[in-house]
Amino acid sequence: MVYVTRKIEFSASHRYHNPALSPEDNRRLFGKCNNPHGHGHNYTLEVTIAGEPDPVTGMVLDLKELKQILEREIMERMDHRFLNYEVAELAGQIPTCENVARVIWNLLQPKIPQGGLYRVRLYESADLFADCYGNGARGRA
């Protein structure tokens, strides 16, 4: 098995706010991230595909195709957007790194041949990230 990783970067804003909680509880729970005007990050997304190299092409997958999928599914949806208001898949959810990574996994999984999507790693900053793996899997390095 060979693991192929493609990295993209996008910038987006978000706000942590749960309308079911009081303003005080929101501020206590989410701190600065509750700022009503939102704030933003430069996100780095690493998408890892697992597979055997094709004996003819020597490739696990055509990286051009993966690049197009990431452009269409992720960049067009999320780059320079306010995640809370402009990404339908995040409506009603707190756009934490965990949830954004999960939404990205769920967007990509049907577009990649079954079993091929190995890991989605989303960095919100250099020191904070979330990983998604197929259900039941545990992480490799």
Partner: protein, 150 residues
């Protein structure tokens, strides 16, 4: 949205990186002075030397629908600060951390010691600890469970 049965929800981990600086000396009392120098080389310098360590931790758990989080970052940061950063930062590992009066403070052993401390975090499950001793050397420990990264 995706079909739940065809495309089940992923297994999600939260990753966080922390930084501290500390000194250490690699020296085993079970070895002769000559063997210590032969095995550890520069790292056996009696006065010690230091590194800027980066600790990467990964936790799993259910994403709380009220917060969108596996673990509250303020709680996690406070726990890591209390149990790892405060006791290790700007310290001599073998002089000031009891575990390294027994074990040689290699970064392998440091990784295991940090794992032991952070597995006690109450609200999420520790999956792995990876320590970068320098940007060129890193070590990862995920407990001894089957299927984990060696």
């Amino acid at each position: 949205m995706t079909d739940e049965t065809l495309y089940p929800e992923p297994f999600v981990q939260l990753g966080r990186r922390y930084h501290f600086a500390a000194s250490h000396r690699l020296h085993s009392p079970q070895l002769s002075a000559a063997d210590n120098f032969r095995i550890y080389g520069k790292c056996n310098n009696p006065y010690g030397h230091g590194h800027n360590y980066t600790v990467e931790v990964r936790f799993s758990g259910a994403i709380d629908p009220a917060t969108g989080m596996i673990a509250n970052l303020a709680d996690l940061d406070a726990f890591v600060d209390e149990h790892v950063l405060s006791p290790f930062d700007h310290r001599s590992l073998q002089e000031e951390v009891p575990a390294f009066q027994e074990a040689v403070p290699t970064t392998e052993n440091l990784c295991v010691e940090i794992f032991k401390r952070l597995r006690l975090f109450p609200t999420a499950k520790l999956e792995a600890v990876r320590v970068e001793e320098t940007s060129n050397n890193s070590f990862e420990y995920a407990g001894n469970e089957q299927g984990m990264t060696p």
